[in-house]
């Protein structure tokens, strides 16, 4: 029996190149819209919607960081500087779509409409998700790197099998692209033609390790071609460009075109988290250079230059953001009430005899404590 006669084998030679790689390759320069000719054709309403979301997002980031200083949040991985890609990721999705965020993407969840207090539940030190992922269509913020990516693939695959035109958008950092799960997820998605959009936010560092020590690839978007999906390189600080490229990828996924890998080139303006000292691995001058390319400022400049943003609109956006921040502060200042007996809830559908015994032990300890 020859190889070709084996069941499952096809007559097509296995070594033959199957796809022309050229259309899959990213452009060498990140895609930009703001400040270019192309910006003239942009929808005014969309730009203003992005602007409101950016101002809101920036304020959310500064407020959450302030809450860590007051001890109200255990930790906050800030996305200041990355708001354009966070916000665009949320805005390109329909209600039925799913978002799979990493631990840095609280803002994407908030921009999707999640109550900021619910979005911060994990980082406050309470039970992991403060929300129902199925109801919100936002997966739990994933702490282990890249492990949420295969989940996005499985969910998108299941949705497609069910005949639902649901798209999953999964977010990961530049460091996360080195993990095995990144590879496995992209490979599965491409083979299954799953309706998934992978958004890599290349913010320069994985904690302290710069991209050059993370990968030798020409760009992270270039990795796509190896899986047989298109790779797109975008200026992650350009909200309009992000929105365009993400929308295109979502549309492609929704209409059966399969997955896309998008690399958003951006910068993390704050330290990795409040526990990190960024001065040990990067120079102030670098941070300052990126400040000139701030996502909020970029869009504001475009809108002002084209006479689309007046003082009134600017004031309304700031005011809305301030009132969100005040409300968040107020509600985060309330001491959360946790029931220790909740430790034994939801381990299994029904507790094992062993867990029942242990919960009785804790109940007795609590009663003794209360009686003291």
């Amino acid at each position: 029996m020859t190889v070709q006669e084996l069941p499952g084998a096809t007559a097509y030679p296995a070594w033959k190149i199957r796809t022309d790689p050229a259309p899959l390759l990213p452009d060498p320069e990140p895609y930009r819209v703001l400040g270019t000719e192309a910006a003239a054709g942009l929808d005014r309403e969309l730009l203003l919607r992005l602007y409101d979301a950016l101002v809101h997002g920036r304020r959310f980031n500064t407020q959450a960081t302030a809450l860590t200083k007051q001890g109200r949040l255990a930790v906050y991985p800030s996305s200041t500087g990355q708001e354009a890609s966070e916000v665009a990721a949320a805005l390109v999705l329909e209600d039925r779509d799913w978002l799979f965020p990493s631990y840095r993407d609280t803002l994407a969840a908030v921009a999707r409409g999640l109550d900021p207090v619910e979005a911060l539940t994990l980082l406050r030190g309470d039970w992991h998700t403060g929300y129902d992922p199925r109801e919100r269509r936002i997966a739990p913020l994933s702490t282990p790197l890249a492990t949420q990516l295969p989940h996005a693939v499985g969910l998108a695959h299941a949705a497609r099998l069910a005949g639902d035109d649901v798209v999953a958008l999964a977010m990961v950092g530049d460091g996360g692209t080195s993990e095995g799960d990144f590879h496995e997820a992209l490979n599965f998605a491409a083979v299954w033609r799953a309706p998934v959009v992978f958004l890599v936010q290349n913010n320069g560092f994985a904690i302290s390790v710069p991209l050059a020590k993370q990968t030798a690839a020409p760009s992270l978007a270039h990795k796509a071609v190896g899986y047989g999906m298109p790779g797109r390189l975008v200026d992650g600080n350009d909200a309009a460009a992000m929105h365009q490229v993400l929308s295109e990828a979502v549309r492609r996924a929704r209409t059966g075109g399969g997955p896309t890998l998008i690399e958003a080139v951006t910068y993390r303006m704050e330290a990795h988290t409040n526990a990190d000292d960024a001065t040990r691995y990067r120079a102030d001058a670098e941070v300052e250079a990126w400040r000139a390319h701030d996502p909020v400022r970029l869009l504001e400049r475009e809108l002002t230059g084209r006479g689309l943003l007046d003082e009134e609109r600017r004031g309304a956006a700031t005011e809305a953001a301030e009132s969100m921040a005040a409300d968040l502060r107020g509600r985060m200042n309330a001491e959360p009430l946790l029931d220790p007996m909740d430790l034994f809830a939801q381990i299994y559908d029904a507790p094992t005899p062993q867990l029942r015994e242990q919960s009785e032990q804790l109940r007795a300890e609590l009663e003794a404590e209360a009686g003291r």
Binding site: G8, P150, V153, G154, I347
Partner: protein, 324 residues
Amino acid sequence: MAQALQRAMRDAMAEDPTVHVMGEDVGTLGGVFRVTDGLAREFGEDRCTDTPLAEAGILGAAVGMAMYGLRPVVEMQFDAFAYPAFEQLVSHVSRMRNRTRGALPMPIVVRVPYGGGIGGVEHHSDSSEAYYMATPGLHVVTPATVPDAYGLLREAIASDDPVIFLEPKRLYWSKAEWSPDAPAAVEPIGRAVVRRAGSSATLLTYGPSVPVCLEAAEAARDEGWDLEVVDLRSLVPFDDETVCASVRRTGRAVVVHESAGFGGPGGEIAARVTERCFHHLEAPVLRVAGFDIPYPPPMLERHHLPGVDRVLDAVARLQWEAQS
């Protein structure tokens, strides 16, 4: 047994369209042990899927599928090849229900052919149950009989919690009276079963070691020992009740399993029995386990695997009073 497992999946798939089988070579080939034989033909490749060769990807995709309401039954090709999927298992599958306060249960079954005795080359004979047992949020079950293979797998698929389903590969070919058209009801997950009643000592065992213990019990008759054999079936949850009732009755116990003894399931089981039955014990709870070595090459595996003689030696050592 392989046929009973296959039938369990087939019946579950026929009854419930959300049940999906996935893994390496499970489709056209029917799995390297043919346990999924015919499922792709009958239910289509969307319900019995040959995935790319990536264990974390398989289990990770299953997580997403479960989030969307499916009930994935995942096959890991061999025990040692499930290790790449450990992170998904430990960090997500086992705790998704807990971290989402019940919003995302994980009705996933991970089928793992485990254990030795089939002459497999390295990485084809591990007993990895201790790793799974040490992960809260998982059920860990293992059939030793053909009816249990069917019944336990049906239960595992129906469970809303993730179940590690350990298939003793050297029992795949065991033939027993079993009617696929009228499968007998079995005890539910979490219940141990007395496979042989006896009065002078209890052998606590599971999976591939059950037939070994039954044989040992027969042999021990000549020496005047009437051994009870308890098939644990479910390592998590653990059936303290059945186990302790037996040990209290017999006053002596030996735990028998293939996996390494140090840090192995036997230590946990012996400790539980000792804590609960101390005053009934005539001797310490003994363990008969595999050596604390990486699984040896097939030409030496018979020296490693606990056989009837090693079990009988332990039973002899239960005459504690006489010794001390």
